[in-house]
């Protein structure tokens, strides 16, 4: 079920009514759990078995990891959990990809091997709930926090429908305590939630699906070379589409949870206002960046084992982060390009740190790529903040070429178009399409810049009520006019 559908509206109204009836807290939690399973089963009912399997196995393995005194047994349990979770992810998400690469390799070595192509359907949200359950078992192994007391609470933690299929990726300590005592949204929370839900749907249906995809899709789907104007318009449109699609989902999810009285973590903080790439990753898909930092980068050694190892760890983290998004080498290239950007940024900031330390006669400290370095170092000269943010944005747009193109040939053709190397290109986009993209992207960048140090709800709280009412109604009217209900969110495929 997607938030931008009639089915969800009916579903959500029923849930709100049930959640506000005078049932016991346990009954309300059971209602939410059943609702979450219905929400998930509305895509493909059989895949709910995978969700149950993952939940039950990790609940009991998590408890055993925490209580088991024998180190060796604990390790075995952790490995079993990792194999179970990652094995399931590998089979469903990377099965075909691995087989294709294996076949390619064997053919390259001269073997004539052509197996039947497997028809594997990717269960919605598997990457998200696998990461959710993985962090629990790893936390239990490290004895960070206590095991969840009941299977009901753990099931709800894994399955809670607002975050289930596309995040935010929640940690046990962020959500489980909220299930332990009765919760009901205050009036403030309820209306804040409704406002965020409207905003999220507006971002998804009006901006991403209604306007930007109409320019991005033909550009990325074009088999012919494009002019710089078409190529750049398509890439800029996709930069907006992917943001409004995914941030729209996260905003809706946070809003839906808030209407029920639950608080989910922020997932986006105006990423296109980022100054530098480490800043970008603190603003884009924050819960994934934090997950990769805590469960991959730091366990790899982080920045604790010298400069060279830090650079290697950063690149490994970004490459795996890229692969997490999809079973295709283009996603790996996307991650690799971000890793490269982070390398360059780190080299520059390290140099500046040294210089500053020398000038100020203070010792420089080791730099963590995910720590707030960019703000402190790159904003030495604040008047250059905006140009630096724009440069960051343009370089990120280049990474989106690899992210969205299905093949390297497609990505290369588009890059040639962007650099004006195609001299025989036919115009692809209508003037009105180019203007629509231009207006939305400029407005998006302006909003990101102006809002970079605040949140929507903070701004809303300072505005007069009638201004909020007018803005809210504009979003609702455009939502009704967009008529883009039912389209899937891009991140569901990841």
């Amino acid at each position: 079920m997607v938030f931008n559908s009639f089915t969800f509206i009916a579903f959500f109204i029923i849930i709100l009514i049930l959640h506000n009836l005078p049932f016991s807290w346990k009954v309300k939690k059971i209602n939410l759990l059943i609702a979450s399973y219905i929400f998930y089963a509305a895509w493909n009912p059989p895949f709910i078995l995978l969700l149950w399997l993952s939940t039950v196995v990790d609940y009991f393995v998590g408890r055993a990891l925490y209580t088991q005194p024998n180190k060796h047994k604990r390790r075995v349990l952790l490995v079993a959990s990792l194999i179970g979770n990652l094995g399931m992810l590998c089979f469903f998400k990377y099965g075909t990809f691995l087989l294709d690469n294996f076949v390619g390799l064997t053919n390259l070595l001269g073997f004539d091997y052509h197996p039947a192509t497997p028809n594997i359907i990717l269960p919605a949200g598997i990457s998200f709930y696998t990461f959710t359950t993985l962090c629990y078992t790893i936390d239990m192994y490290k004895r960070r926090g206590e095991p969840v007391k009941s299977l009901l609470d753990f099931s709800l933690f894994v399955t809670f429908f607002p975050h289930l299929v596309a995040g935010p990726i929640v940690r046990p300590h962020q959500l489980v305590p909220q299930f332990e005592s009765p919760r009901k949204a205050s009036r403030q929370q309820f209306f804040d939630g409704l406002f965020l839900l409207t905003l999220g749907l507006f971002m998804k249906s009006v901006l991403a699906d209604g306007i930007l995809s109409a320019a991005a899709d033909p550009v990325f789907g074009s088999q012919a070379g494009l002019s710089p104007l078409d190529a750049w318009t398509g890439v800029l449109a996709f930069s907006g589409q992917i943001f409004f699609d995914f941030a729209g989902y996260s905003t809706s999810a946070i809003g839906v949870a808030l209407c029920l009285g639950f608080i989910l973590p922020q997932n986006f903080l105006y990423p296109y206002a980022a100054i530098g790439f480490s800043d970008f990753w603190r603003r884009w898909h924050i819960t994934l960046s934090a997950w990769l930092r805590d469960y991959l980068y730091i366990p790899l050694g982080g920045n604790r084992e010298g400069k060279l190892k830090t650079y290697i760890n950063m690149m490994i983290t970004m490459l795996i982060g890229g692969l997490w998004h999809g079973a295709n080498w283009t996603f790996v290239a996307w991650g690799g390009l971000h890793g490269l950007y982070l390398w360059i940024e780190k080299a520059i900031t390290d140099r500046r740190t040294k210089k500053l330390a020398f000038l100020a006669d203070v010792k420089s400290t080791p730099v963590n790529p995910t720590a707030p370095i960019a703000q402190s170092l790159l904003s030495v000269n604040p008047k250059f903040g905006l140009p630096k943010a724009m440069l960051t944005y343009l370089l990120i747009c280049i990474t989106w070429v690899f992210f969205r193109s299905g093949t390297f040939q497609g990505a290369w053709l588009l890059l040639l178009g962007m650099t004006g190397q195609i001299h025989t290109a036919q115009p692809l986009l209508a003037t009105i399409s180019i203007i629509k993209v231009g207006v939305i992207i400029v407005a998006m960048l302006a909003f990101h810049w102006l809002m970079r140090n605040t949140t929507v709800l903070q701004v809303v709280s300072k505005l007069p009520w009638f201004t909020v009412g007018i803005v809210w109604s504009l979003m609702l009217i455009l939502l009704l006019l967009s008529q883009e209900s039912g389209k899937s969110f891009i991140y569901f495929q990841f």
Binding site: F6, A10, F191, G210, I435, V460, V468, S473
Partner: protein, 337 residues
Amino acid sequence: MPSNSLVKSALLAIIITFVAVCFWEIHLRQNGIKPDYDNGAELWTNKRKMVYEPSDKSTVILGSSRGAYDIDIPTYERTTGKRAIQLCMDGSSPRTVFDDLANDPKFKGKVILDVTEMLFFNNIPFMLSTPAENLAYYKKETPAQKVSFTLDVPLEANLVFLNQGFFSLNALLNLFHLKDRPGFRPDLPFPLEFNSTDFNRQNRMTDKFLIDTSLQNRVRGIWMMVNGMLPPPIKGKEFAANLQNVKENVTKIRKRGGDVIFIRTPSSGPVAAIEAKVFPKSEYWDKLLAVTGCKGIHYTDYPALSNFVCPEFSHLSPRDAMVYTEHLVTILKTDKN
């Protein structure tokens, strides 16, 4: 903001939205526009699922827009007493869907296949893309999408502004006519009045279209432009393979007790002349019947079918569609038994 203020904001938003939407709906209705259905993958899927109801007695109409305009479903059902399910798609080749039905063991009914030569005897990717998308939707439709469709139908049936093709935000913004770059190929600018879609996917020209010659001329211009843009027809091995594929599908359907009848609906004026020149009947239509062994009803072979005049050269008016369908059924009952 205190919670009371947010309640006031929400109420104001609801009032403004309600008034704006009502105003827009009334404005459209005052301009004579009536509600219809979006002819997308959801509605197509809804009809595709009906080909088994009952599996051995249903008639499925396949083809492109001519099948959707020219065969009047209520007339067909009234005169034959059989259920007719229309699965035509505008500007598309029906071969993909024919292939799907032929390979569906549950389907045992009759197929009336509308042959518009430039679409049927062609392998251009864009002519195959919509059928592929609709079939993919049909095969992967989720329970949530089924419920959404059920909830959406009564809204579309009663609200004019829910016409995605003409009144969605994107469509409205595209009405700003700005000069495009030289060489740019615009979308075909069909007027709103050219098409209204019923729940059974019957396409009709509106009354306004039938009396407004400027609208008719606009669509005539589009057909002439389309005819000028198309690549040459397929020939030789490609044509033979095309026919062979159709023949295999005919055999599969007949083996299950079904049947296939090809029809060629009327076209007029310069469009008919171009079609006759580019796709000579003896080289395409006659060969199709000879290779497949199927019966066919070409409008030029029957006096009762050959005197229709298409308002925009390519499709019949709703009234003529009813007459055409009656004649067609009579021919099917007599000539073709």
